[in-house]
Symmetry: C2
Subunit: 341 residues, 2 copies
DNA sequence: CTGAAAGCGCTAACAA
DNA sequence: TTGTTAGCGCTTTCAG
């Protein structure tokens, strides 16, 4: 592909390859005039360095990896924007890998990083990830791993999260304040730390308000929309159905709404709904959805920023880098009828 | 990073580097036993080849690039899933680049591809792209460029699109059939071929139904939501406001809904709305949104598939690869009151 | 069937 | 200030 290389430039200029190389790196060893000659010819011939030769030599790739479960979810989409914006700024390239919530895929992907393909990774683990050896391996080799959103508690490294416990507490409290006394919590995974924190926030809020929690109010959904639909329908069809629902995962919102519609459960009168969601369309839903909005862009940006810091300073200690960026409860019609905004 | 390399393996096995290399590539030149010895040691030591050394030598990178305007849009998110699924299958890596609708960024990104960093690119151009020299340059060097969704008409290469003209025609016809006589068309760009095709479909449908088009019914929005909001508000505030709206871009939907809400224009009674959108939440909007749903996943998959075909067969002619995957009009409440589903 | 050697394009000691 | 040289780790002739 690339036709013009250092050798060619050197030939045309009657200089050595190394001189040209140094000139292009703006080394102080090289005279101004030589630099100018080199630069101008390089521009004229549209010289573009071969990144692989350079990576091979330098042992760094100017490339980072983003490993996430899915991208068809507004959180990760927005997070990617945050990541990419700082990567582009720093002149880094971004490889993207989707695990589709598959642990083995995650493992294979991370394993490949031992090759030196990337200088670091930003990741959100799959919902299946309990064994964390594959991540531990990387970390122990000094390879920078930054978790964002879905972290592994047992691995000591940089973590960018949102205040999952607190925001879930706040959401639950909000439902209680709105008069709910039987609040269901929709979850997706029993192992994900993020799910558990949200669940804990929910439980704590109920406890603090002297509301009894039943195990039956914890509803575990799956990746299968049809299954979730039936599950929720059965629950909402009961006489004593929940009067409040917290969907701890964005994609469950649609199902909840559809079930309520089918069963003619009026929202917010019969049941009030809050969702962890970054959907821009939340406010034009029927009814407008009360959300806990995560700082997706900021989290992506923060994760990338931490990574680049550690890449720039060799002694940088990732273990101390913990950022908790708060989510926002945005109250809309799905919990408070005729709510402004 | 990578500590164990060919040399190390060769040393341990008392073989030459080249023999080990061939064994790992499963060359027929190597005896079965040697292959087994090599393979087993490689596995034992967790040998992972250095991709950059290999790329440098082979002049291919097993990496492709995806260049798109944005990712916080359901179309591109889903398309990425399609692309990634086939790339992972083929053992390729995916670099992602966002142009943010910025032509100069697009140009810089593509220019870098002359370095051999990637073996091919799947792209959707920015809305600013009129000068196409940067793309032409790549193509003329035999570098595989595949367009999807937002294509450049003047460049002869593989193109994966949806039936923009026809689906827009269908949508417009649908509005006419619902009784609309003054239909506004919301567009985003005057230069994008995809926008123009959609606009042509709209115009043709109106013409075929003997409805006069006014230039005033073509509404050009921008990236600035606040601007779009005021623009639409002014239009919808008029006595003779449109009784039908086609949003040719997903992100305009929210604005349209909000304006109608604020002005108390009842949907679909006062005004009917259709949107080009892949939002999963369309059916729980207020009211449920009639959409033209693009085959985002399929388009991404098709684009990647074509690229890999051309990468696998050297004589493959990209110019002949044109795929048009149809979109679907899904009628919901925003055009037909009390519509099922 | 195996090995020696050259070289992909670049960087970085070290010399001059 | 510039040039010489030796690799980075891998693939690929070409010899043995």
């Amino acid at each position: 592909m690339a036709n013009v290389n250092l050798k060619k430039l050197a030939g045309e200029l009657n200089l050595s390859v190394s001189t040209v190389s140094k000139a292009l790196m703006n080394s102080h060893e090289i005279s101004i005039e030589t630099k100018e000659r080199v630069l101008s010819l390089a521009k004229k011939l549209n010289y573009i360095p071969n990144p692989y030769a350079s990576s091979l030599r330098r042992k760094t790739s100017k490339t980072i990896a983003v490993v996430i479960p899915e991208v068809a979810d507004s959180f990760f989409s927005i997070a990617i924007n945050g990541i990419e914006s700082v990567a582009q700024d720093k002149g880094y390239h971004v490889l993207i890998y989707l695990t589709h919530e598959n642990f083995l895929k995650e493992k294979a992907i991370l394993n490949d990083f031992q090759s030196g393909r990337v200088d670091g990774v930003l990741m959100s683990v799959t919902s299946e990830t309990v064994d964390t050896n594959h991540i531990h391996d990387l970390c122990s080799r000094g390879f920078p791993v930054i978790f964002f959103d879905r972290v592994c508690e047992d691995i000591e490294t940089a973590k960018i999260t949102t205040d999952d416990f607190e925001s879930s507490y706040k959401a639950t409290k909000h439902l209680v304040d709105c008069g709910c006394r039987k609040i269901a919590f929709l979850s997706f995974s029993k192992s994900l730390s993020i799910s558990n924190k949200r669940m804990e926030g929910y439980k704590q809020a109920l406890a603090d308000n002297k509301i009894k929690t039943t195990e039956a109010d914890l509803i575990f959904c799956t990746n299968d929309d049809a299954y979730n639909y039936t599950l929720l329908k059965n629950i909402m069809a009961q006489k004593k159905h929940p009067d409040g629902i917290i969907a701890s995962v964005e994609k469950l919102t649609t199902t909840v709404y559809l079930v309520c519609k089918e069963l003619k459960r009026a929202v917010p009168r019969d049941v009030k709904i809050v969702s962890f969601s970054n959907l821009q369309s939340a406010l034009i839903l029927n009814p407008a959805l009360t959300t806990i909005t995560q700082p997706a862009f900021e989290m992506g940006k923060a994760a990338a920023t931490v990574l680049f810091k550690s890449l720039e300073k060799s002694g940088f200690n990732l273990k101390k880098e913990k950022y908790v960026i708060p989510s926002t409860l945005v109250v809309r019609d799905s919990t408070v009828e005729g709510n402004k905004k």
